[in-house]
C-alpha cells in the first residue's frame, strides 16, 4: 500500500471555496489525499507526520500561464538589466544603474574570456531608466575594439553593438536601413531596432543562438528559475516545436528532479494547419505528468512599447502610426477556425485593442460555424481591452491572461507616451475581468520580465509604476483575487483546473511553500514574501536562500 504523508503548516491557503484555509494536508501517490485538521485526516489510515512546513505557509503551486523557456536560454549569457534578477542557480544578479556600470560589468566578463573571436552577448538592458541617455558603440568599444559585443534590450526588440560588429556588417553613414539608429551627424550609433536588431543578433553572435536558447540545458534553467519563485506549472507559450527542442523537453522532463510541469504552445504559423494538427496530435501521444503538448498560439500584433501594437482609434497617444500585424486578420480567422474545429484550445497574443477586436471577431465566427462548449480560447496580454470587450469575452466563453507586470515596467511610458493617462489607467484591467466574470490569469511573459507570481500579483494589487505612480485605482484587485489569478485562475486558462490550481482532495500535490503569509502582509509587501520552495507531485524542492 502506498504511504501517506501529512504536513502540518502554519496556514494552508487552498483556493478551494469550501475550505479556504486549513492546517494540514495529506499527500499520497503525489496527490492530495485530504485537507483539514489532523483529526480529520487521520481517518485515511497510517501516515507519517512531516513537520518541514510547520512554520511555513502553503499555497497551491503557482501557475505561470504565459512565459517562455527562452528565459532559461538567455541565462546562458550575462544579465545587464536595471533591476536585480534571480538567476537559475538562485544567486541574485544585481541591477546595473547606469551605462558605466553595464560597461564595467561587461569589461570584467571580457577579461575572463579566452577565445579571442568569441562574441560577447548580454541581455536585459533597459535604458528607459537612464534619463534619456542611450548606449552607443563607443560605450561598448570600451569593452573591446576587436571582439563583437552585443547587448540585447529587455524588450528583445532592440540591440546595441560595438564598432567591430558595425564594421563587419558594413554599416556606416551611408546605410539607410529602417531600425539603424543614427546620431545628428548621420553616423550609426550602434543601436539597432526590430528586424535589423534580430538579424544582427543572430548573425553576429556566431553561435547557433536559436539552438542554445531552447536546448535541454535551457529548459532546465527555465524550470529552475521558475521553481525558485514558487512556480510548479509553466508554459512555453510559443514554440515552433522543432524535433531538437522537443527532444530537449523530453529529456529534461523525464528526470525526477525536473521541478515543474511544462506546457509548450505550438506557434500555429509555423506549419500548414493540417500538418500542424497532425504534429500536435502525435506529440500529445507522449504527454505525461511533467510535459503536456496541446496548446496552440497565434500571434496577432506586436507590442505597445515597441509601437507595433494594433490599436483602435484614436491610436498612439504620441501620434505615431498604428502598429503591424504579425498575422493578418484573414490568417487569424483561418488558423483559429482550423484549430478550433480540431478541438484545440488557442491562445491568442493581442496587445492592442484592435488586435483584441479582430481576435474576438474570429472566435465569434469560428463558434458560429462550429459551435463548441468550453473551448476557453484565451486572449494573451490583452492589455488595452475595454469593458465592452471583456463582456464579449464572457459571452463567447473565453478566458484572458493579463500582463500585469507591464504596469510596473512600462506603466510610466504608457502613461506619458503610448496610451496616455486614460487608457493607461485602465490597462491590464483585472478588476474589469472580475466584474464581467471572465476567468483570468496574470503573467510575466518571461524573459521579457522576470518570472515571479508574487511580484505579478503585487502588480495587479497595487498597480504601481517604476516611478511610483498608481495606474488606475479602480482596476486594483484584492490580494486574495490576485493570488487566485496566479493559481486556480491560471489553471483555468490552461484547462487544468481539475488537476492543479487549488489544494483539495484528488488534485496533484503541487504547493508553493512561503515564509510569510501573503494574506497577512500589507498588500504593498506582497512582492517581498519569501519563497521557501515548492512541492511538485509530493516531491519537495527546497529553493536555495536568495
Amino acid at each position: 500500500m502506498s504511504s501517506t504523508t501529512i504536513y502540518p503548516a502554519r496556514r494552508i491557503i487552498t483556493m478551494n471555496a469550501h475550505q479556504p484555509f486549513a492546517s494540514h494536508v495529506a499527500v499520497r501517490d503525489g496527490r492530495v489525499l485530504g485537507v483539514g485538521s489532523l483529526a480529520e485526516l487521520e481517518g485515511w489510515g497510517p501516515y507519517t507526520l512531516d513537520r518541514s512546513f510547520e512554520s511555513l505557509v502553503l499555497l497551491p503551486g503557482f501557475v505561470e500561464g504565459h512565459s517562455h523557456a527562452y528565459e532559461g536560454g538567455v541565462w546562458k549569457f550575462p544579465y545587464v538589466g536595471f533591476f536585480d534578477r534571480r538567476s537559475p542557480d538562485g544567486a541574485v544578479s544585481p541591477g546595473l544603474k547606469n551605462i558605466e556600470a553595464v560597461v564595467s560589468r561587461l569589461r570584467d566578463i571580457e577579461r575572463g574570456m579566452t577565445d579571442a573571436g568569441q562574441p560577447l552577448l548580454a541581455w536585459g538592458f533597459d535604458p528607459i531608466y537612464f534619463g534619456g541617455r542611450r548606449m552607443n558603440a563607443a560605450d561598448l568599444d570600451q569593452v573591446s575594439t576587436t571582439r563583437p559585443v552585443l547587448v540585447i534590450h529587455s524588450n528583445f526588440h532592440v540591440l546595441n553593438v560595438n564598432s567591430p560588429v558595425l564594421a563587419k556588417a558594413g554599416i556606416d553613414h551611408s546605410t539607410n536601413v529602417h531600425g539603424i539608429v543614427k546620431d545628428s551627424a548621420g553616423k550609426p550609433t550602434g543601436e539597432l531596432q526590430e528586424i535589423a536588431a534580430k538579424y544582427m543578433a543572430y548573425r553576429a553572435s556566431g553561435i547557433d543562438l536559436a539552438g542554445v536558447l531552447s536546448d535541454e540545458e535551457a529548459v532546465w534553467r527555465f524550470a529552475r528559475v521558475a521553481q525558485l519563485s514558487g512556480v510548479t506549472t509553466a508554459t512555453d507559450l510559443h514554440n515552433e516545436l522543432p524535433e531538437s527542442t522537443v527532444a530537449g523537453y523530453r529529456r529534461a522532463s523525464a528526470s525526477e528532479d525536473f521541478p515543474i510541469r511544462l506546457l509548450p504552445a505550438f506557434g500555429a504559423i509555423a506549419l500548414p494547419v493540417d500538418e500542424g494538427v497532425r504534429k500536435l496530435k502525435a506529440l500529445m501521444q507522449h504527454n505525461n505528468d511533467r510535459l503536456r503538448f496541446g496548446l496552440v498560439k497565434i500571434v496577432t500584433d506586436g507590442s505597445i512599447q515597441g509601437l507595433s501594437a494594433r490599436m483602435r482609434w484614436p491610436g498612439y497617444y504620441n501620434g505615431l502610426p498604428n502598429g503591424v500585424w504579425n498575422t493578418g486578420p484573414d490568417d487569424i480567422d483561418r488558423l483559429l477556425q482550423a484549430y478550433h474545429d480540431a478541438g484545440f484550445q488557442v491562445h491568442i497574443h493581442t496587445n492592442g485593442d484592435e488586435a483584441s477586436e479582430v481576435a474576438l471577431d474570429a472566435v465569434e465566427r469560428a463558434l458560429a460555424r462550429t459551435p463548441r462548449r468550453d473551448h476557453r480560447h484565451t486572449l494573451q496580454h490583452c492589455q488595452m481591452a475595454d469593458a465592452a470587450q471583456f463582456r464579449r469575452m464572457a459571452a463567447l466563453g473565453m478566458c484572458v491572461n493579463l500582463f500585469a507586470n507591464h504596469l510596473f515596467y512600462w506603466g510610466d511610458i504608457h502613461y506619458s507616451q503610448t496610451l496616455g493617462p486614460e487608457r493607461a489607467n485602465r490597462m491590464d484591467a483585472c478588476a474589469t475581468a472580475l466584474r464581467t466574470g471572465v476567468p483570468f490569469a496574470i503573467h510575466c511573459d518571461a524573459p521579457v520580465t522576470p518570472i515571479g507570481p508574487l511580484f505579478t500579483a503585487w502588480c495587479a494589487v497595487n498597480r504601481l509604476t517604476a516611478s511610483g505612480r498608481t495606474l488606475g485605482e479602480s482596476e486594483q484587485i484584492a490580494p486574495a483575487d490576485a493570488l487566485r489569478a496566479v493559481t486556480l485562475g491560471a489553471a483555468q486558462t490552461l484547462k487544468l483546473d481539475d488537476e492543479i490550481g487549488s489544494i483539495e482532495v484528488g488534485k496533484r500535490a503541487d504547493f508553493a511553500v512561503l515564509h510569510e503569509d501573503p494574506l497577512e502582509v500589507p498588500p504593498t509587501a506582497l512582492k517581498d514574501v519569501r519563497v521557501w520552495g515548492t512541492v511538485l507531485g509530493g516531491r519537495v524542492f527546497e529553493a536555495p536562500a536568495a
Binding site: K168, A169, G170, I171, T175, N176, V177, H178, G179, I180, I195, A196, K198, Y199, M200, Y202, R203, A210, H238, E240, G267, I269, A270, L271, P272, D274, E275, R310, P321, N322, V324, W325, N326, T327, G328, P329, D330, D331, E354, V358
Partner: protein, 323 residues
C-alpha cells in the same frame, strides 16, 4: 566578394505570390535560386524534379532549393546563407501582412547579399477594397509604397476600362509607381530576375552551371534592348532617361564609365522604379566600354524610341533590340 541578389516578393494574401514563385521555380533558366516560402504545401513542384526532401527544404534537379520560413524569416534566411556557395539568387516570399521593403533592407546589412528588387503583387479585383479596409488598409499602403515594381495581377478578371481605372487610382495614390498588369502572375520571369547570361547583376555574375542554356523558356515573351558606348556617359542624362522609361521596362542593368568618374566601373541596377548606381572599383584591364541592357514586357517601346530616349546619354556605338 560574391554577393547573392536578394529579391523580396510581397503582396496580400491571394494576390498571386505563390503562382509567381511556382513559375520562377519552373523557369529558373540555369540559375540556382533559393526560394523561401511561407507555405510549403502551396508550392507545386514536379515530383520528378525533386532530388532531396529534408525537413523544411526541398532540393530540385535544376539546382534550386525551396525552404519553409516557419515562424522566423530571420532564421530561415540564416540557414539559406549557409549554402551560399551553391546558390545564385535568394528570393523571399514575404507574408501577406509584412512590409517587403523592410525585409529587402536586410541585404544592406548582410555582406553576402545584394538588394535586387521588391516585387509586390496586388489583386486587381480587390486591391482598392483592401486598401480601404479598416484593419489592413495601412498594411496594403505600406506594401504599395515599398514596391519597386507592382504586378497588378488577375487583370484578366477585369474589363479594360476597369483595369485602367484601378491603374489610374494606383498611380494617383503612389506617384512614381511602376506597374505591370498580369494574369496568373505571367510576367517575364527572365526580366524580373535577370536570368539570361548577360542579364545578371554584373558585379556578381554567377558561374554558369553546365545545364544552363539560353533558350527562352516558355511563358510570356521578353523584350530586350541594349546599348553600348565607348564614350563617357553623362550621369544625369542617364538617370533622367531611366526615370523616363515606361512601366513596361522591368529591369535595367549596366556597367558604365561615367564622365564624372572615368576610372571607376559604375554599376547601374534598376528594378521597376528603383535605380541604384554604385561604384565597383577601378576598371583595371577591362575593356573601357559602357553597356546597358533593358528588359521588359512585349509592350516595351521599340528600338527607335529607346534609341531616341538614350541619344543624349553618350555617343552610342551600337544598339540592339530583340523581342
Amino acid at each position: 566578394m560574391r554577393r547573392l541578389p536578394l529579391t523580396v516578393i510581397g503582396g496580400f494574401l491571394g494576390a498571386g505570390k505563390t503562382t509567381l514563385l511556382n513559375r520562377l521555380l519552373r523557369h529558373a533558366g540555369g540559375r540556382r535560386f533559393a526560394v523561401l516560402v511561407n507555405d510549403f504545401g502551396a508550392i507545386d513542384i514536379d515530383s520528378r524534379l525533386v532530388v532531396a526532401h529534408g525537413g523544411d527544404t526541398i532540393s530540385l534537379a535544376n539546382g534550386c532549393i525551396c525552404c519553409g520560413i516557419g515562424d522566423s524569416l530571420v532564421l530561415a534566411l540564416m540557414r539559406v546563407l549557409e549554402k551560399v556557395d551553391v546558390l545564385d539568387h535568394v528570393v523571399v516570399e514575404a507574408s501577406g501582412v509584412a512590409d517587403p521593403a523592410r525585409i529587402a533592407e536586410l541585404a544592406l546589412i548582410e555582406p553576402l547579399l545584394a538588394r535586387d528588387g521588391v516585387l509586390v503583387l496586388a489583386d486587381a479585383t480587390s486591391v482598392r477594397e483592401r486598401e480601404a479596409d479598416r484593419y489592413v488598409g495601412d498594411t496594403i499602403r505600406r506594401q504599395l509604397d515599398g514596391a519597386d515594381l507592382l504586378i497588378l495581377n488577375k487583370a484578366d478578371l477585369l474589363s479594360d476600362a476597369q483595369l485602367a481605372d484601378v491603374a489610374t487610382w494606383l498611380r494617383q495614390r503612389a506617384p512614381g509607381l511602376r506597374l505591370v498588369p498580369a494574369s496568373h502572375a505571367e510576367v517575364p520571369i527572365e526580366a524580373l530576375f535577370g536570368l539570361a547570361a548577360g542579364d545578371a547583376p554584373a558585379r556578381d555574375a554567377p558561374p554558369r552551371s553546365p545545364a544552363a542554356n539560353d533558350a527562352t523558356p516558355d511563358g510570356p515573351p521578353i523584350a530586350r534592348w541594349s546599348f553600348t558606348s565607348r564614350g563617357p556617359v553623362d550621369r544625369a542624362a542617364l538617370l533622367a532617361a531611366l526615370r523616363a522609361l515606361p512601366d513596361s521596362v522591368l529591369r535595367a542593368k549596366g556597367i558604365v564609365r561615367f564622365a564624372d568618374a572615368p576610372r571607376q566601373r559604375g554599376v547601374v541596377h534598376m528594378v521597376g522604379r528603383r535605380i541604384d548606381v554604385s561604384a565597383d572599383g577601378p576598371w583595371g584591364i577591362a575593356d573601357l566600354r559602357s553597356d546597358l541592357v533593358l528588359l521588359g514586357t512585349p509592350d516595351m517601346p521599340d528600338a527607335a524610341e529607346l534609341d531616341g530616349l538614350f541619344a543624349g546619354v553618350a555617343p552610342a556605338v551600337s544598339k540592339s533590340a530583340s523581342w
